[in-house]
């Protein structure tokens, strides 16, 4: 691998009970797969707010992986069905925004399926590598008005969050 090859940066949300343990298992069984996914642990895939995905993409991620327990095996009984619904809607929205199919993926992996998660990640990395960097929205970092708008929204968010916290 050359240093010049495009290395996609992917954010991966893993649920604590199945997919995080699947990633643990992939490690303990020394299953090799692409090191491009940076993980965030959440208790359940149902915790993944579509805003997390948008945030990651807008901060420069080339793709987002959401992984949860298989339908019917959710530690919280049925919350992954809600994830499924949300992700379907989100993917619909992303299509309209011009984000290519395959950049945001939902994967089911039980705690015993390290190989499955690894395989899904390899496929995803290959796919995104062929798509190239997302740089979304295109070239925004060169446009001062966009940067100012982001700054403004971010500070509003921060103050809102502060308000919630107090």
């Amino acid at each position: 691998m050359t240093d010049l090859e495009f290395q996609p940066k992917i954010i991966g949300f893993l649920c604590n009970w199945c997919s995080y343990r699947a990633a643990d298992l992939a490690g303990s069984t020394r299953t090799r797969y692409a090191p491009n996914v940076r993980y965030v642990r959440v208790m359940c895939s149902g915790r993944v707010d579509p805003a997390f995905v948008m945030k990651a993409l807008s901060l420069g991620a080339d793709g987002v992986l959401v992984a949860g327990c298989h339908p019917g095996e959710c530690h919280y009984l049925e919350q992954n069905y809600k994830t499924m619904r949300r992700m379907t809607m989100l993917q619909h929205t992303l299509r309209q925004l011009g984000v290519e199919e395959g950049r945001v993926r939902l994967v089911w992996a039980s705690a015993a399926e390290g190989h499955r998660l690894a395989k899904a990640i390899d496929e995803m990395v290959d796919r995104i590598r062929s798509l190239g960097p997302l740089r979304w929205p295109a070239g925004w970092q060169e446009r001062p008005e966009v940067l100012a708008a982001i700054e403004r929204v971010a500070s509003e968010h921060a103050s809102a969050a502060q308000e919630v916290a107090t």
């Binding site: 343990r21 490690g27 359940c44 901060l59 420069g60």
Partner: protein, 675 residues
């Protein structure tokens, strides 16, 4: 907001340091990420020296947040939380990054591994800065326990807990406790009689002051959580008054209806319409099978009522719902035998003298339908040759891929019993012989010495169509002998199919009710496959016996006892710690839209009609965070997984995202994160 964060990158010997440049990660994060006061790497963070390094830094450097980059939090989160706690730092102000399982063990690309580790540690630092101190919550533990399933595993749990004077409710679906073990004749490898060792346990359970048996009953629903479950049990109508029935058996004798018993006798024997499944049944009390009883079918007969000396027959009995409050639940629901009709090439159900393993168990049993005589379906002829086919429905991509673990030993036992009792030739068709436990392989050697023939190969078919005069009137077993490399046709009189152990047909329903998960095959999932095979992901719900996976009697008993020990520990402690990861709603800002209400499968969110706001009951909340993600007003806080914490983590993870992609990545590791 200024914090003092301590970052610790573990080498784990060479496990992590072999792939990740730990020193570069620690340096990059220490130099480039705001609020990092201390950033170190060390050979083994989990060692006592590593832990005391953190503790000393917390005290001397006045750290108020800690990040440990090491192995999985499922392994060492407790260790490092305790280390922080010991130094006076709230344990929830520590965040772990899994750089071993998630990075160094899955790639050899050192540059990318170091880059990913730096990004993940940066994410953790950004997150931990926004983490809040949380206090663990405690709930009292109800000393009563519910055991679902009265087989040997469930009985072991029940007796061990009851011995300490705590109440135990045993719910059993069949009319008697005892489970599959009560059906067996001999147990491997010691060949002691199953009933001789089981029935004393059954009567001990039946007579114990602290054990309440609810037989002919099924679990309806479970609510609540660890320490305080509320369960509803349906006591099906027996149509026999349990207060006055003496179990004399006159009703059974007088009942004119004979029914094929496909539960206890595996279809090989008959019972009456009013029956006790077997003579040593506990409780010693019959039930009426309403599908066959003439009174229920045609409104006539009542012979049992007429002859009952104590007038215990009660045709007007109704199902009863019993509500129980328990602190812990043990699932010990066992297994179903594979339906051998699913593999028609073996002829079960079509060829008379093909038997299932359970049928053969009943046949060998002196109290069984043939009085212990090994005979063909005509009930007279003794077979002169018997084929035992292993792995029927196991290790087979068409049915179940797993090994059923018990059948090899049971097949060896059958081989021994046939040789001992009738001296017939025995052919055992196997893929691999698995005799993995204490004294098991010795038993295999013994059965080989007794003259059982072993043929290695999966049987293709069992047929009654002869190809030569020697095959006339016989069952022919067609198989490739993989040791000789030839096709063989072996004519025999009787075939025994060693059916697989399968999860109970309704196991998934029970799992859903108890709030636990099943594996892909349908077995209940344990908390950890090696380190915690007894508990489940749901606190207060434990597993015992074959419901967790195929298991023989010793392992079931051991697991039953282990579940009892765990529960006794909780009862003795009197209270249980609950992770404070729960959702709370800011009621001032809740618009009362009720979107969250329907999302919670634990019914933890109530709607306050008067104030028109939703409210989370902390004791029912399991902390999944689905409602947090769904709230359109963003006024639900998921403790420890708050929006601002996760947003900050994402920002940290992508701190290097806008660096030029053509820039040599090594510079990243050396230079750290782009701000």
């Amino acid at each position: 907001m200024s914090r003092r964060v301590g970052v610790y990158v573990c080498h784990c010997g060479s496990n992590i340091a072999g792939t990740i440049d730990c020193e570069a990660v620690a340096r990059a994060v220490g130099e480039r990420v705001a609020d990092v006061a201390v950033s170190r790497d060390y050979k083994f963070m989990c060692s006592s020296l590593g832990q005391s390094m953190i503790q000393e830094d917390i005290e001397k450097e006045k750290l108020d947040r800690v990040v440990v980059a090491a192995c999985s939090p499922h392994l060492h989160e407790k260790t490092f939380r305790r280390a922080c706690s010991n130094a006076g730092l709230n344990p929830y102000l520590m965040q772990m990054v899994n750089v071993r399982e998630h990075i160094s063990w899955v790639t050899k690309d050192q540059v990318e591994a170091t880059r990913k580790a730096t990004a993940m540690v940066t994410g953790a630092v950004e997150r931990v800065k926004r983490q809040e101190a949380l206090e663990p919550q405690y709930v009292p533990v109800n000393p009563a326990t519910l055991v679902v399933g009265g087989g040997i595993a469930g009985l072991q749990t029940a007796i061990e807990i009851a011995e300490f004077g705590h109440p135990v409710y045993v719910v059993e679906r069949e009319p008697s406790i005892g489970g599959h073990m009560a059906q067996f004749d001999k147990t491997f490898p010691t060949l002691d009689c199953s009933a001789c060792i089981l029935t004393p346990r059954m009567s001990e359970a039946g007579q114990h002051d602290c054990i309440h048996l609810l037989t002919w009953s099924e679990l309806e629903s479970v609510s609540g959580s660890v320490g305080n479950f509320k369960v509803r049990v349906r006591k099906k109508a027996r149509y026999v008054n349990s207060e006055i029935c003496t179990g004399c058996g006159v009703c059974e004798e007088k009942c004119p209806i004979k029914v094929v018993d496909d539960v206890f006798e595996a279809g090989l024997g008959i019972r009456k319409a009013i029956y006790m499944p077997f003579p040593q049944a506990v409780p010693k009390m019959p039930v009426i099978d309403t599908a066959h009883c003439i009174w229920f079918v045609r409104g006539k007969c009542r012979a049992c009522e007429i002859f009952c000396p104590t007038k215990a027959i009660a045709f007007d009995q109704k199902d009863e719902i019993v509500e129980l409050e328990v602190g812990n639940i043990v699932l010990a629901t066992g297994y179903d035998l594979f339906d051998c009709r699913r593999l028609p090439q073996y002829g079960y159900g079509r060829l008379d003298n093909v038997f299932t393993s359970l049928e053969f168990e009943r046949m060998c049993n002196a109290a069984g339908p043939t009085g212990g005589r090994i005979v063909l379906r005509d009930r007279e002829t003794e077979p002169r040759s018997v084929a035992v086919i292993h792995c029927v429905g196991s290790r087979d991509k068409r049915t179940n891929e797993y090994c059923s673990a018990t059948c090899c030993m049971a097949a060896l036992k059958f081989g021994h019993l046939v040789r001992e009792r009738i001296g017939a030739e025995v052919y055992s068709f196997y893929i691999d012989i698995r005799t993995f436990s204490k004294d098991y392989d010795e038993f295999y050697q013994r059965v080989m010495d007794e003259g059982v023939h072993f043929v290695r190969g999966r049987v293709a078919e069992v047929t009654d169509v002869p190809r030569s005069p020697a095959e006339e009137g016989k069952l022919v077993v067609q198989c490739e002998d993989t040791l000789l490399g030839v096709q063989r046709r072996i004519p025999v009189d009787m075939v025994i199919l060693m059916g697989a152990l399968e999860p109970r047909a309704d196991a998934r329903d029970l799992a859903l009710e108890a709030g636990i998960s099943c594996s892909m095959n349908g077995w209940f999932t344990e908390r950890h496959p090696k380190l915690d095979p007894v508990a489940t992901m749901t606190d207060g719900v434990f597993l015992a016996g074959a419901c967790q996976g195929p298991k023989d009697i010793p392992s079931s008993v051991a697991q039953g006892a282990a579940a009892a020990a765990r529960i006794l520990g909780m009862i003795t402690r009197g209270r249980v710690e609950i992770e404070p990861v729960v959702a709370t709603i800011d009621e001032e800002r809740c618009s009362g839209c009720r979107i969250c209400n329907a999302l919670c499968p634990f019914h933890a969110i109530e709607f306050d009609e008067a104030r028109h706001v939703s409210h989370v009951q902390a004791s029912l909340c399991k902390g999944c965070g689905t409602c947090v993600a769904a709230c359109p007003a963003q006024v639900i806080r998921g403790a420890h997984f708050m929006n601002e914490q996760i947003f900050a983590e994402i920002e940290g993870l992508l701190a290097d995202a806008w660096s030029d992609v053509s820039e040599p990545v090594a510079a990243f590791a050396a230079g750290g994160v782009d701000d």
